[in-house]
Symmetry: C2
Amino acid sequence: MFTPQPIGFVISPFKDTGSIPKGLGAKHEEEGVLEILPEFAPGLTDIEGYSHLIVLWAFDRSDGFDLMVSPPTDNRPHGLFSTRSPRRPNPIGLTVVELLRREGGSLHVRGVDMLDKTPILDIKPYLSSIPADKLRRGWLAEAEARKA
Amino acid sequence: MFTPQPIGFVISPFKDTGSIPKGLGAKHEEEGVLEILPEFAPGLTDIEGYSHLIVLWAFDRSDGFDLMVSPPTDNRPHGLFSTRSPRRPNPIGLTVVELLRREGGSLHVRGVDMLDKTPILDIKPYLSSIPADKLRRGWLAEAEARKA
């Protein structure tokens, strides 16, 4: 396959996992910066035209995985791939952020949920959405309904 | 960081990159199967509740990268991270698919745009969308307008 390498690092207000909002109704409105390394910064050309970006990053402070997990959103266990658990066979995180502005190799964004200094693997434009009436949210919707 | 490992492989009708629809207005309606390896299949528990999944996979037949690229959708070059080019520092692909049904470790899905036998790195639930009126699509929208 390939050897993962950081293209940059996240500057985030979250210094430990306990400070990241989790569970039902968790909002990710915090602002942060995606600091892209100088050698990759020319690849950001034209990115200002997008309102939202997909950030792929490494869960670099996570270790191992279980195939059944009990997420903070529910007291019932679910299959790992039905959750966003950080402990995965390939520990790759995904966050959709709103791009506020770019300053050279620094992307100021809203919606970070990564720890400070998280290595960034890739940035892709967010191009299309599933219409709300076509989207089913599985056990998460059920867990929300049970707590409502 | 981590060493990427396949959790399964894509069964796709696309045997070579030339057969994958590309460019403006390209539709990805093809059906395929995400074959998850038996040792990871228990992690699919409860996944049937989701209508759409995010699939992360490896561009295993791509090599190297350029920071400025000329995508098939436009005749002007753009920064790599403003495009979905397969040639990236970390060659990770992302596809949102519609889950049609599950048979054990086999997920039958619509919307594949990967080559046959592509290694799958991760599957995550697709949980929320950016409302259409909040989404800006950058140079791609401009390129579409120019060709319209």
